[in-house]
């Protein structure tokens, strides 16, 4: 699914948040949006999700303007503790989006268990989210996002509150999902390393108010990405430095 932002502007009252954002995310691309804290990255994501109407400009998906929450869209929020429903089991959380597809209960459960196995949580289906570690909870949230096979996946600092080891595991899970499902992914992060490691392309926003795109950089790294070797590549180091300078200079 192709995502187009055309001269997108967003403001809270008189306070400008985003200014003149024009971007095209081609089908199947994993785009990372980086920027200093509070620059409006989350607002950008909420606008694409149809949770906030655009004040200026347009957002289109495959040529159709976004007015409400679009079909075939899924979102993973940073705060997994709040985004999952604690009164439902892991399996019921994951099966929840399937209700609108009109599947029978048994089919919903089977589908949820299949996707849980995919994210490495086969044993946790009958437990409740709060019985799991933070990393496992975010895996549940990712499973819930993937269960409807979205064409566009939005991720709002999805690994921001996880420890380093867990974050690396989930970054690799994301890359694996992206490779096999070929979903268009928009990932917002403040972690420069992460953006270069997972992204096909990195866009840097300036600090607010009225954030603009200050760098739009394709990420071309040789070979299959790997936490140890990729991060040591001279290409990786150079890209990270460019993104870092853009974030700091912005």
């Amino acid at each position: 699914m192709t995502l187009r932002l055309d001269a997108l502007g967003q403001r809270y009252g008189d306070h400008p948040v985003l200014r003149d954002i024009t971007l095209t995310v081609p089908d199947g691309q994993l785009l990372c949006v980086v920027g200093p804290s509070g620059c409006g990255k989350s607002t950008l994501l909420r606008t694409v999700a149809g949770l906030r109407p655009a004040r200026e400009g347009t957002v289109t998906l495959d040529g159709t303007p976004v007015t409400g929450v679009p079909d075939h869209l899924a979102v993973v929020f940073q705060d997994y503790g709040r985004s999952l429903f604690p009164w439902l089991t892991v399996r019921d959380n994951v099966a929840l989006p399937l209700r609108r597809r009109g599947l029978a209960r048994a089919e919903r459960r089977a589908e949820a268990e299949r996707i849980l196995e995919r994210v490495g949580l086969d044993g946790a289906a009958r437990r409740h989210p709060w019985q799991l570690s933070g990393g496992m909870q975010q895996r549940v949230a990712i499973a819930r996002a993937l269960v409807c096979r979205p064409s566009l996946l939005l991720m709002d600092e999805p690994f921001g509150s996880l420890d380093a080891q867990t974050r690396e595991d989930l970054e690799d899970l994301l890359l694996e999902v992206h490779r096999t499902e070929n979903t268009t992914i928009l990932l917002v992060t403040h972690d420069i390393d992460e953006s270069v490691y997972v992204g096909d392309r990195v866009v840097v926003l300036s600090s607010g108010p009225g954030a603009r795109v200050v760098l739009d950089l394709p990420v071309e790294l040789p070979g299959k990405r790997d936490q140890i070797t990729t991060r040591g590549l001279p290409e990786f180091v150079a890209l990270r430095a460019r993104v870092g300078r853009a974030v700091r200079g912005a």
Binding site: R46, A49, L51, V69, L73, A74, V75, F77, D79, Y80, G81, R82, S83, F85, P86, W87, L88, L96, P97, R99, R100, H128, P129, W130, Q131, S133, G134, G135, Q137, R144, S161, L162, D163, T166
Partner: protein, 287 residues
Amino acid sequence: MRGEQGQGTARTSPVSRPAASSSAAGPASRRALLPRLLVLLLTLAVWQAVARAHGSVYFPPPSRVAGRAHALWFSGPVRHLFLTDAAVGNVLPSLGRMAAGFGIAVVCGIGLGVAVGRSRWAYALCNPVLQFARAVPPPALVPVFVVVLDFGTPMQITAIAFSAVWPVLINTAEGVRNTDPLRLDVAAVLRLHPVERLRFLLLPSAMPRIFAGLRLSLSLSLILMVFSELLPGTADGIGFTLTDAQSRSDLLTVWAALLLLGVLGYVLNTVLLAVERRLLGRGRTTA
């Protein structure tokens, strides 16, 4: 360490917080059972000793009160579960009125509470009225219902329902209004149908508050049940038993009725707590 923080936020999510106290009461109450029983027995023993030493007809010892309660209500035939005709004729009608009034209050309170809590302007508009309605001492309204509906069961049920509805309504509205905005976004992104959103998000997340309201409403129902039966035009019920015994200067029966009311209140509250624990689950309360 950052993962720990994440779990911390999960644990203190607004849903779980109010319920935490009731779960803490679980194991703690079992541990404290013996001392509490001792205090109860000690109180009864002192009451017994003082009343016997005094020998006043106005202040009978608990053994005689219990004996009267047994003779009045629980000495019936086995096939009636030991209930006497007086129990069937007086306790059951009271419980029936209370159940009807409380039931109406629960249905209306939760229904209206969700409606008021969902809409910001409805909440702003209704809040002063709700606060006023809550502030009026419920028994003070009974004379109004007597005038409008005359004496009898419809008036009694209305009085109970009208008094008990406010705590449920206000707490439901408050609980629904405080639904985590991020979870509302999640529901929007998952494109949950309004009914599904109610079932999977709004009601579960308001549930601890709703139960707080239910507990208040239950005790109000008991109070209004007795109070409405104290009025003339009643021919049965525990309240009627009270006024009837009082008119015959039968203080032992008055005390027995008070004992019965205390036990009823305690049992009903315990049942409600058990339902709450079951519905909110062990998990919800420690989440």
